[in-house]
């Protein structure tokens, strides 16, 4: 236990605003955190739905919870059920085989709900486009409030997008 605590202590709090001169992203993260708190003043819950991605977008969504971005530390939480969610964060393209599941998840999310399409594929079908197996953009299947482009979008872009979606809904 002692070595563990020592390690935690030595690591320190990485989310604190102490950016080095060249550490641009950190300053931006802190600004975003403040803005999210200012706008929301409460928690936001997100249900992430992978509707057909190559899993790179998922890696970046995971990164949102690393100590640098620390999204959950600011009251933005990923939840297991769409019934507990304020926002659906959907990566695409939406495959035919996931079309139905995405619709069900959408219907299960209580109103008012926000839908954010993530990645080039979620925004417009990306490299996969529309085909016999792909419905393409998330917007082709459910209503979308905001699109976050990128292949995959960086965690910073994801944070900005989530914030912008909340702002739109206000």
């Amino acid at each position: 236990m002692i070595p563990l605590l020592r390690h935690i202590f030595r690591t320190g709090i990485l989310t604190e605003p102490a950016p080095l001169a060249e550490d641009g992203p950190q300053r931006e993260i802190d600004r975003l955190h403040d803005e999210i708190l200012h706008i929301l003043g409460r928690a936001l819950t997100i249900r992430e739905v992978d509707a057909g991605s190559c899993n790179a977008c998922e890696l970046e969504v995971h990164a949102l919870n690393n100590p640098y971005y620390n999204l959950e530390g600011r009251g933005i939480k990923f939840v297991a059920s769409p019934r507990h969610a304020d926002m659906l964060l959907v990566t695409g393209p939406v495959t035919k085989n996931m079309e139905n599941a995405l619709r069900i998840a959408y219907d299960c999310t209580p109103d008012p709900k926000l839908v954010v399409a993530v990645g080039d594929c979620g925004c417009n079908g990306g490299v996969f486009g529309e085909s016999y197996a792909s419905c393409g953009a998330v917007g082709n299947v459910v209503g979308v409030d905001l699109r976050i482009p990128g292949c995959p979008p960086t965690p910073l872009a994801l944070m900005q997008g989530i914030l912008a979606a909340v702002r739109i809904s206000k």
């Binding site: 390690h7 509707a51 690393n66 100590p67 085989n97 419905c135």
Partner: protein, 524 residues
């Protein structure tokens, strides 16, 4: 020449400097089956099965089977008549052939005579008698156009007996993870059987390759499984280069290995964190995700992309790090090595964590061989198989041949073993990265590759999960006629079904994470 004491098929080595591949044609289905049996006899693996439509090129259909042998890979093709494309079932010899055979039937409409005949990639999105990879399979796209997306029923294997019941999970899982369906048959908390149903990520990747040029193919292949962008990029590049008779320059090869090892370390770091988290040790997630973030930020800084997508292309690489960049890599290797060593001690000495890891999700080396398992999960059962390392009769492709890769094994076969292999592989990759960065060859990083009409090639790369394989065929105009990317998860998903048997349901997330398989890579 002949391989594995079977005289039915004559092989010729594939030209070029990639991983050793021998190409051969089976005269008929029986010859293929005999070869498969002989391969199994000598401890070989079924690595991939796919089909191609050759009717426009004056043939019928063609079945492609790749077998992993001690000395390299044997790529066997079998011509099938256009009117009755049927071949003998290989699943009695290699059980993991089943899903590949089912996918081949769904995609190209060539069928095996036996084995599991349920659809695999086709759910309800297109009709059963319409095969996407046939050249005459035209369809309309766009919202509301094309085929009606019908709900599909699936005939799961039922487990009976008193107290036995089912837990259906997915396709949308509780976490931030790709979709797939898991059907658990349980008694109390004990898992009697797990049956996976995948295909939810099927987005028609293979069809998109048809008629594409080399560059478009490179873009697509890097997105087959985003966590393995470099492995796929390299396997595809190796296949195209072998087909077109060109060799990437030495500096490009060294940089490819550098990118691939960085990809391996990134994924292993993430997995070690997630494995701690799945055993309720959030400290592990925080610490390893911090290291991973440092790692991918340097990727972004040096190579312009956090996951190094599109960095490896046929002919070479698109990146050219200078001395300062290579020095930054060496420096980071030292920092990460120190941090991982400390964390390993904490993991190893944490009784709660070890209690969850040890003896959980066990598979042994016999089962791993039976299932043709490759890569990290196979090495965690004690099988010494690593495409980057020398072994009896096998010389790894450059630059690995000169690096002296020390493959890592652990004989326990449980979650703890897969954790330990990851820890050791990180250290080994860091060593390789230093060697590569310090001894980086000078010279050009990319040469032109002109498509060679009618040519074909196969590329095999040891990705972080296991053998990543890409088969490429060009048509008469030098466009891609067929590309088949193959993920090691094809073999590892069935291994996961076995690993959870007799463990408890709450251990499934941990066991699943210890394999961390790709859905997109197999659903295509």
């Amino acid at each position: 020449m002949y391989l594995c004491d079977d005289n039915g098929i004559e092989f010729t080595p594939q030209a070029g400097i990639g991983a050793p591949v021998w190409c051969g044609r089976a005269t008929d289905g029986e010859a293929l089956k005999d070869f498969a049996a002989a391969a199994r006899q000598v401890g070989g693996r079924i690595t991939a099965i796919w089909g191609s439509d050759e009717r426009q090129r004056g043939g019928g259909f063609r079945l492609h089977c790749v077998f992993g042998l001690e000395r390299g890979h044997a790529w066997v093709s079998l011509e099938l008549p256009a009117d009755d494309p049927v071949y003998p079932d290989l699943s009695a010899i290699f059980p993991t052939a089943n899903r590949m055979q089912r996918a081949t039937r769904d995609m190209v409409g060539i069928a095996s005579t036996g084995g599991d005949q349920r659809p695999w990639l086709r759910h309800g999105g297109w009709p059963a008698d319409w095969y996407p990879l046939r050249h005459d399979a035209v369809h309309e796209t766009g919202v509301g156009a094309g085929f009606e997306n019908l709900p599909s029923d699936y005939d799961f294997v039922k487990v009976g007996g008193e107290g036995a019941h089912e837990i259906p999970v997915g396709p949308i899982h509780a976490g931030i993870i790709e979709p797939g369906h898991f059907r658990f048959s349980v008694v109390g908390e004990r898992v009697l059987r797990l049956e996976q149903r995948l295909g939810y990520q099927h987005k028609g990747v293979e069809k998109l390759f048809i008629g594409a040029d080399i560059a478009r193919g490179a873009k697509l292949v890097g997105r087959v499984s985003g966590d393995s962008a470099c492995a796929y990029g390299w396997a595809y590049a190796a296949a195209v280069e072998a087909a077109c008779g060109v060799e990437a320059p030495p500096r490009a090869l060294a940089l490819r290995a550098l990118l691939l090892e960085r990809e391996r370390v990134a994924n292993h770091l993430g997995d070690l964190g997630a494995l701690g988290n799945d055993a309720a040790f959030a400290f592990g997630l925080t610490q390893f995700f911090r290291l991973k973030e440092d790692w991918v930020r340097l990727n972004a800084k040096l190579f312009g992309h956090r996951f190094m997508m599109d960095c490896i292309v046929p002919g070479g690489v698109t990146v050219d790090p200078d001395t300062a960049a290579l020095a930054a890599i060496v420096e980071q290797c030292g920092a990460i090595e120190r941090a991982v060593k400390e964390l390993r001690e904490l993991y190893d000495e944490h009784p709660g964590l070890q209690d969850r890891f040890a003896t959980t999700g066990t598979i042994d080396s016999n089962l791993a061989r039976e299932l043709s398992l490759s890569g990290m999960a196979a090495r965690a059962t004690g099988i010494l198989l690593d495409g980057r390392a020398h072994r009896q009769g096998y010389t790894p492709p450059p630059p690995y041949a000169a690096l002296g890769v020390r493959p890592v094994t652990d004989e326990r076969g449980d979650v703890a073993a897969r954790v330990a292999v990851r820890f050791d592989e990180i250290q080994e990759s860091l060593r390789l990265l230093r060697l590569l960065a310090v001894g980086m060859a000078a010279g050009e990083t990319r040469i032109e590759v002109a498509a060679l009409a009618g040519a074909s090639g196969l590329g095999v790369i040891e990705g972080w999960r296991g053998e990543v394989l890409v088969g490429v065929q060009f048509d008469g105009e030098g466009k891609l006629a067929r590309v088949h990317p193959h993920d090691p998860s094809w073999q590892a998903w069935p291994a996961l079904e076995h690993a959870v048997m007799n463990d408890i349901v709450p251990d499934f997330p941990l066991i699943n994470k210890s394999f961390n398989l790709s859905y997109s890579g197999v659903d295509l």
